[in-house]
Amino acid sequence: MEDGGGGSILESIGSEIIGVMSPVSICMFLVVLLVYSLTNTSASSAVRTAANLVYLESPTDTPAEKLEGALLNALVFVILIAFVTFVLVLLYYYRCTSFLKHYTRFSAFFVLSFMGGPIFLTIIQHFNIPVDSVTCFILLFNFSILGVLSVFSNGVPILIRQSYMVALGIVVAAWFTRLPEWTTWVLLVALALYDLVAVLAPGGPLKILVELASRREEELPALVYEARPTTNANISGSRGGSTLAGLLVAGMSQNDGSDHGVELQAVSASPRTNIGNYENEIASESGHMVINMDNDDEEEVEVVREDQEETSPLMAGNSRERSRSPMMYESTDNSSRRLNEVAVAEMMRPRRERDGDEMIEVMNGRGIKLGLGDFVFYSVLVGRAAMYDLMTVYACYLAIISGLGCTLILLAVCRHALPALPISIALGVIFYFLTRLLMEPFVVGTSSNLMMF
């Protein structure tokens, strides 16, 4: 990292954003690959799932019928998700945390083995891989078990955890791409709207859940991708907390030094028989969230600083912050610096959980978090685009990634839980149809005549 004349800021800015974007990109890429190579074999037999309970699309229907059916499907699916989420919130409210954890583990197992299994089978059949059934079964079982263990346990390296999150996303998204076309599009839009309401509206289930979790200083008992800066731990000393988000807000305000790790976070209630109800949000998960929320109105802009920034020279000037939440800071401030250094040093070690007071620091020691639901539905959109053409795939990919970037920047400005689906899905859908209707005839028309510019 010494090139560029010893630590130019280009090397550090934006690494958090890339840390979130790259797994999303990998997930989308693999889903597209899967869809691309398998669509021929897995003939478009309409599967009946909870996402098309009401209406089973057939190619002969008129567009009006398809639209009506798709709307109904989406409505039912969203109501189902909302119901399940409320149940989960209720369970969490009454502190059935271990039940929720076991349930999440079970659903991870279910997804990996019973939904991933058929996908592996199709891959094996499609590429004629010579594997006998016993080996295949053992491999699948091992794969699933490791995945289940990695969901909440301490003993698994973060890299494995992250790859399992991506794998879960791929499997669920691959199933979702089997939905009929109209239903998929309406469903995506409906979910984006639901996400908006559930995270931002007062009384929205996800908002309640995140607030509860932050008040209790616990982790959400859900499938969440953590983009912790683990793999770069050795260089994080030089990265001195200059995320793009931090940078953007830092340009506007002088009030830094808030130590909150603002996190893109997601809750995913588990998938049930081919449905995942995945929702997502961005939460300020630090222990002082309530105080923050109260003060947000008074402070026009506040600076968001990610965890490592505490070790950066900009540390000064959080007296204001301290005066706001005296108790919290007295108890944590002394130890937080030390703990964060420890956290940096021990990045490769598994996460510490439920250590009482240490929870605040441990939480501060984490990066942006993104829900599995985002992975799934971004990938569903791209996978659906892949069934049309490669051009739409690129357009949708760019749209989704830029939507994610916008959400992250908004997160830096707003500093509370934000839904990650709406902007990306809106951009993705718009770009899909623009590309399909406008751009493709244009590009094909010019470049098939070998005209380029």
Binding site: G4, N449, L450
Partner: protein, 249 residues
Amino acid sequence: MTVAAGIGYALLALGPSLSLFVAAISQKPFLILTVLSSTLLWLMSLIVLAGVWRAFLPFKTTPSSSAWLPYSILILSSVVFQEGLRVLFWRIYKKLEDILDAFADRVSKPRLFLTDKMQIALAGGMGHGVAHAVFFCLSLLTPAFGPATFYVEKCSQMPFFLVSSMIALAFVTIHTFSMVIAFNGYAEGNRVDQLIVPVVHLVAGMLTLVNLSSGGCIIGIPLLYCMALFTLLHCGKMVWKRLADSQNR
């Protein structure tokens, strides 16, 4: 042909950019973000152009000679639009540079070096180039992965995919390095560099018109590569000069 051929065509068009990406860009997250946003900008410009030209397409090619004029107008308008976009991109970049410098002061790190600025320009240009290659070449490459190939009537010497990926490679080179030239020209107030970029782009676009005549690609593609080589050499010379200047200073 098969998967191997498809991958080969894709690598022919994008291989140099890929190695450039791995070597120079991928280690610096900010540059990756620059590539992405520049790609998005180019995509949006393409969509706008497509929206404008959608009504007139496809041109009636039955009297084959009359297709020249509409295509040249199309290329002219597209190049003008995209060069306008380049100026916009420069404006945005200028603002960003100020913010970055302010931020660097705040975290008491050195400001952007000259090489940093050039790398940002390179990343921006690469976004444009990659977007070009992806939308004009790669997205038409899907059939190349299948069991056949495709020839166009006007250029029967080579498969269509080979021609388009070769043209795409030339354009990737032009786009990537002309952004460096342009940013440098804007920063220095160098009129020649500012003008040379649209001219190169326009000439390169017009050279593809040669492909309209039958067998034209045999002549058109070498000429296009001359333009690409010219851009490359000019960029190299300019960067060399600036680096030497800044070291002497």
